[in-house]
Symmetry: none
Subunit: 220 residues, 4 copies
């Protein structure tokens, strides 16, 4: 009756005997299954309305097992956010191959953001953070510290570089990097809320936005 998490059971052969990846690996696998399940449920229902029962069922574990990996519902949510956000940030920030024009850099970033966040569960997670932020100051703090402030700083640097190189005219833009990111954020929220009312071609919108800023015209 208990359903095993499938998408992550890429580990071993038989179910009861784990040759190589014993003990620790099994545990990590289970934990990951819980995190995945929790993300789905939290996104779909929000923190307060999500039942641990449903998470356990979806993860294919018993309810008590969750407490072997997380202190309680709150810390599960907080750790979940960290667990999912950190690798994405790492990937998005490590990327910039320091060659080419600023627009190339920004476009590369946008492209990655598109692939890694928009139209992804990760995008829904961003909306979830926006939703639960006020009730989870620690999550909002974490998100501001790890994502927002770092993102703003990075964008500002890029903008200043663009201004220095003459790619960007609008000098004030450096004071509000939010403007550079705003359409991407709006895309994330739009997909999560209004996709079924009217689909949005996020990629094209971002291109138009970059045209607005860099003045030129190019194809992705």
């Amino acid at each position: 009756m208990t359903k095993r998490s499938t998408k992550l059971a890429a580990s071993s052969a038989a179910d009861g005997e784990a040759p190589a990846s014993s003990r620790a690996a099994r545990a990590a696998e289970r934990r990951q299954a819980i995190v995945d399940a929790a993300m789905e449920e939290f996104i779909a229902r929000g923190f307060a309305a999500t039942r641990l029962d449903d998470i356990a069922k979806r993860a294919g574990v018993a309810k008590g097992t969750i407490y072997l990996h997380f202190k309680d519902k709150e810390s599960m949510f907080e750790e979940l956010v960290r667990t999912v956000i950190v690798p994405v940030v790492t990937r998005l920030t490590t990327l910039p191959p320091p060659a080419g024009s600023v627009r190339d850099l920004v476009e590369a970033f946008a492209s990655n953001f598109l692939k890694e966040v928009i139209n992804t569960r990760r995008g829904d997670l961003v909306r979830l953070i926006v939703a639960e932020g006020p009730r989870f100051p620690s999550v909002a703090d974490f998100y501001y510290r790890e994502v927002v402030s770092r993102g703003m700083a990075g964008m500002r640097t890029l903008i200043e570089l663009g201004i220095a190189r003459g790619e960007i005219r609008q000098k004030d833009l450096a004071r509000y990097p939010q403007i550079l990111v705003a359409p991407a954020m709006i895309a994330v929220i739009w997909q999560s809320l209004f996709a079924r009312h009217s689909p949005l071609d996020a990629q094209e919108m971002l291109r138009v936005h970059l045209d607005l800023i860099f003045g030129e015209r190019r194809t992705t």
Copy 2:
């Protein structure tokens, strides 16, 4: 222990003497007190985590009184959104005095948006809608229909007018009015989530953004 609703007692002179405003007026007053209290609580805690007890306490009414005005918690939330959103939309859309440049129009709108939404409980309500949308399709539908689609259409018209008049260069912008609104939305969310981490001068940011689109420079 019972607290009188203060901000809404615009009825008569003194608090203890309500000669004319009998029955109906008292009822409307009470209902408004409930709506106000509910908005505060829903914004602070989200739908699921909000207790009717707290709403009642904050509104200065008994728990049962809420049910004289709303069928249940869900419809209270839905009606609340309508009650608050409709007048704002009305005010924001009725405003444009059809004189002056397109930039003037947009700036007037931005100015009103700033005053009516950003830095206002209404702004928090927008974040709340983003947060609860997935669990309240009816709310998301309503918001899309009454606010988003109408807003997009209006913006598109303005953009096209701007293009026709030569105020806006970027022709593609008309396809993505979201870009025009994005910074305003980001400002709303920012104030709600990150104001305490780093305050945002929304007015100035919007000005910079308009400069980006209209190319010029002006002071509000």
Copy 3:
């Protein structure tokens, strides 16, 4: 919006002006409407599950009006039982025209019981008393005192008369008048509970039962 009780408004002409039956009559009328409505509701839902709101609505009065006539829900129920039971008992016990055979007397009684109780709201009330008895000792006491014990005594007298006159053979019957009444009671309950499963010709059943006791055969 308030609906006037119709079936009882056989009183006066205009609604606001009661020529003869003013004041007191109006009050009595209202009270009767409440009693009627209450009986319907209590029978349909039982004491605990009946809402005063529904009674008021059905009676065409405001909720508060009920409290002008009855102390509270409990005493309303108790008085209701008295109000309805007493006249029936009176009618059923006053009837015996002291002529003819004992069987004639019993048959006359059965016939009246059939007309006055079985297939009547009064029958449902008996079932209601059976239902609520344990929670309303005062009602059970009243019913036992006014109906059961008097009924048993009366039946015993009739049986003894029948035995003395040679109409009834079974001498022990006088010790258990319940046997004489049992089918009538069963008819009451049957109609209330199982009529829709399988209708019962109570009159015929009672005739068969009397044949069993009196040994003869007659038509009603």
Copy 4:
């Protein structure tokens, strides 16, 4: 404060040592405790006035435990009726040893009914069904189907046999088996409602009734 269910602890030896009766047995035991407690409370107060809190307290379990066994209060009531009725019906219908006179058979049945139902919680349950029937059509249906219609059919068969064998004179009786059962039902209700006003020797009453039908005289 927690009371262990006593009457049902027929499992192991001492109360503190339950070696074999693990899991399933414990669960069954708990469920039975809940059923017992529920029966007491429902009988004493009726469905609507019974509090789950009281059932839980009486059963010695937490409130939530009830919901591990029953979907809600309604289905608890319905299942309770089934759970209690079915075995009784089974026992009462399996009994007839096909020897002896019809009167012997009927007397055996009466004797069992006396022992199994009258003066038993089961008797009170019958009154409860009469009480709640109108609000629980499913219960009334079940009772009619499983008990009443089967009982009527069985009685009719016996009566016809009695007529065929010359033990019963009254031929019409076969059309109204209710007459045969009526005093037993009245005994059930009497004990439940009027026992404290005036005790009833049900056994003797049933004997007198059988004498009435079979005409003879015998001792149980």
